[in-house]
Point group: C2
Chain length 401, copies 2
């Protein structure tokens, strides 16, 4: 029996495809430090967990396809606090940011239409684009200049008749770049000129460091018809398993069109929507503490990584990932080596090779994405493992003496 | 700003698109009896709700892309009880049966490939097929002979080089037909002959009436490579809002390929997976009582409907829907009339017009799908409303005197 050509061509997620090897290592008693995935060890707000424990319906019924009213209302209040005025009708609740992205591609693009995306980018976007048969046109940002936005001219060069929009992630997964108001405005102006959309994944909105403030793409009402924001509760409230996200836009046609897809899949998970609404009632202190904690963790891991011979990485400005150049031939092979053939004091490290975070073939082969969502002790041990692992890999696999 | 041609061509779900009118009616104080959607008023098992209330993690983390191990193990035990032996690796947990169907289309079909489906069929399949750019080839079953499976020859006629499989739903939504072991075997034989898949949505498996037993497509091990079962907890345990479903197949390549899509969307909702696993521990008595209750409700509503002048419907054998011929020009117009322009003793009825449950244009315009998941009092009132509504519609809209 033959699978489809397209599914055969889809990548296995570089973030998750080595999970079986991690499990084998764990079976051997090795402690695997997971820097491959943005799964924080920070506690979910008690308010959110209590909302789950207080679930008091005696039927777990279908919810509304557009998401529960109480959650959409709670979100308008949350946005108000960050300076963005919205109505409930500007919000479509989705099953995670993942579904939001898929809905947006399907809604804006016909097959073979194009989206421009700075690379490296969140690798699962490739699968969502493939599902919708959307072609991603990359604009390459470079580790040499800490992944700042390539010049507007680079974006403009990629625009053609099939271009439906530009997709950003800010703060960026995987690079940590935070787009400035000026960068956003110049992109919005470009989008207006060519009558295309600007879609911004802002799920890491709160995680900007070094005293920087964040500007949402929703804060430019003069461009509101062409602005779509992807949002999610996963990272903000350390509730990744809840699968509650949103499409946020003042363009009514986008919401109405995406709702067709929403109606077909019936509704987002209901219990987690109660948890999400409750999470929005937590005091700003919670988020502030989480932010400060991630900033500390970033500082710890980056400093240690920069000391490892041959490793190159810069201080990311936001989110909780960074891309590092490693002194290896192939970061994927090295990742596999770390899980299958290596341990240091009973530990090893799992991370995501970065090649699949690029559209352009051949870039990023020696790069990897690391997340710094674990506590300092784990990060210190991870850096030590990586240092020793690199030595062993270069000696035993690359045969460098 | 232009939406994509494809999203513009997608239907709004006939099950949900009139919801705004229902809401308006409710605002006017009218009690809307929802026969449009299979949202049972039967209680979710206490075990499932308790599992939600007992959720004791202090982080709501990402789950596994393939679903939690404890749930997959619990499912193998459940299948064992219905006579089907499976391993955990034969099960991929999905975000509802809806996602399972989407994954199957993407996994088996390239764009413009085809699936054969008896019509009328569960209308949201059309949207999932559209997303995957799969063409549905209908084999028409008729209300005249209570929607039995059309002859195998009709299926064979539709097979061509692009045919990747046949999709059934048994017990059937919307017709209530339950496929017999003989029907399944002859379809499986056909599938073997043409080397295609048989995909069966069995989410209503437990709801077979009149003492009939159910045969799962998983009970034919000799065809196991080409058999895929779609499953869900929604209906079985009256937990539609949980969005937990599954792809079940002994074809390893299908599971591995679909997992690529699973990894991209990260994981199914976590809290509900605990609820789902707990639901599987309920005594058979729960399901038996639910089944008996639906059988009673079916008998009540069908009897009353059959007495309404001009209405034609047969006793469905399973699930909790039936398709009725109505004495109207256009069931969609009549559905809108019922919500917008009609009430009887402060009540009205919402139902799904059936035209969009057909691929073939022009069939089913005077048909509607009704669900009988509500309690008897509601069903009695619903039948009365329908009878009076039909009189009013025929008099005031169709101008029949």
């Amino acid at each position: 029996m033959q699978m489809s050509n397209r599914i055969s061509s889809f990548q296995c997620s570089p973030i998750r495809r080595l999970v079986p090897y991690a499990r084998d290592a764990e079976k051997k008693g090795i402690h695997v430090i997971h820097l491959n995935i943005g799964q924080p060890d920070i506690k979910t707000p008690k308010e959110a967990l209590d909302a789950i424990r207080d679930f008091d319906l005696d039927i777990l019924p279908y919810g509304l396809s557009e998401g529960e009213g109480f959650l959409r209302t709670a979100l308008t209040r949350y946005y108000k606090r960050i300076g963005v005025t919205l109505s409930e009708d500007d919000i479509l609740i989705t099953t995670g940011g993942s579904e939001a992205l898929q809905f947006v591609f399907m809604t804006l693009c016909d097959p073979y239409d194009e989206f421009i995306i700075p690379e490296p980018y969140y690798t699962n976007v490739a699968t969502f684009a493939n599902i919708a048969m959307v072609t991603l046109r990359p604009v390459t940002s470079s580790s040499d200049d800490n992944f700042v936005l390539p010049s507007i001219k680079e974006f403009e060069k990629k625009i053609n008749k099939k271009t439906m929009g530009i997709l950003l992630c800010s703060p960026n997964n995987p690079t940590g770049h935070v787009y400035s108001p000026e960068e956003l405005r110049s992109l919005l102006e470009l989008c207006r000129r060519y009558d295309i959309f600007l879609v911004v994944d802002e799920v890491y909105r709160e995680f900007c460091y070094d005293g920087k403030t964040f500007t949402s793409v929703l804060s430019f009402p003069e461009y509101q018809d062409r602005v779509i924001c992807i949002d999610s509760f996963s990272k903000r409230f350390s509730m990744c398993g809840s699968r509650v996200g949103a499409i946020v836009t003042r363009n009514k046609e986008v919401i109405e069109s995406a709702l067709k897809l929403g109606q077909a899949r019936l509704c987002p998970p209901l219990v987690e929507q109660y948890a999400a609404a409750a999470a929005l009632t937590v005091r700003d202190e919670y988020i502030e503490n989480v932010r400060a904690e991630y900033e500390r963790r970033r500082n710890v891991l980056i400093k240690l990584m920069q000391r490892i011979p041959g490793v190159r990485c810069n201080l990311p400005k936001g989110a909780f990932y960074f891309v590092a150049d490693l002194p290896v031939d192939d970061a994927e092979k090295f990742a596999l080596f770390m899980l299958r053939d290596f341990s240091y004091e009973g530990c090893t490290v799992m991370f995501a090779s970065a090649e699949d975070f690029y559209v352009t073939p051949g870039i990023g082969r020696n790069q990897a994405r690391f997340s710094y969502v674990l506590n300092e002790d784990e990060l210190v041990m991870a850096a030590k493992c990586l240092e020793e692992g690199l030595k062993a890999y270069r000696r035993d696999v690359m045969r460098i003496r």
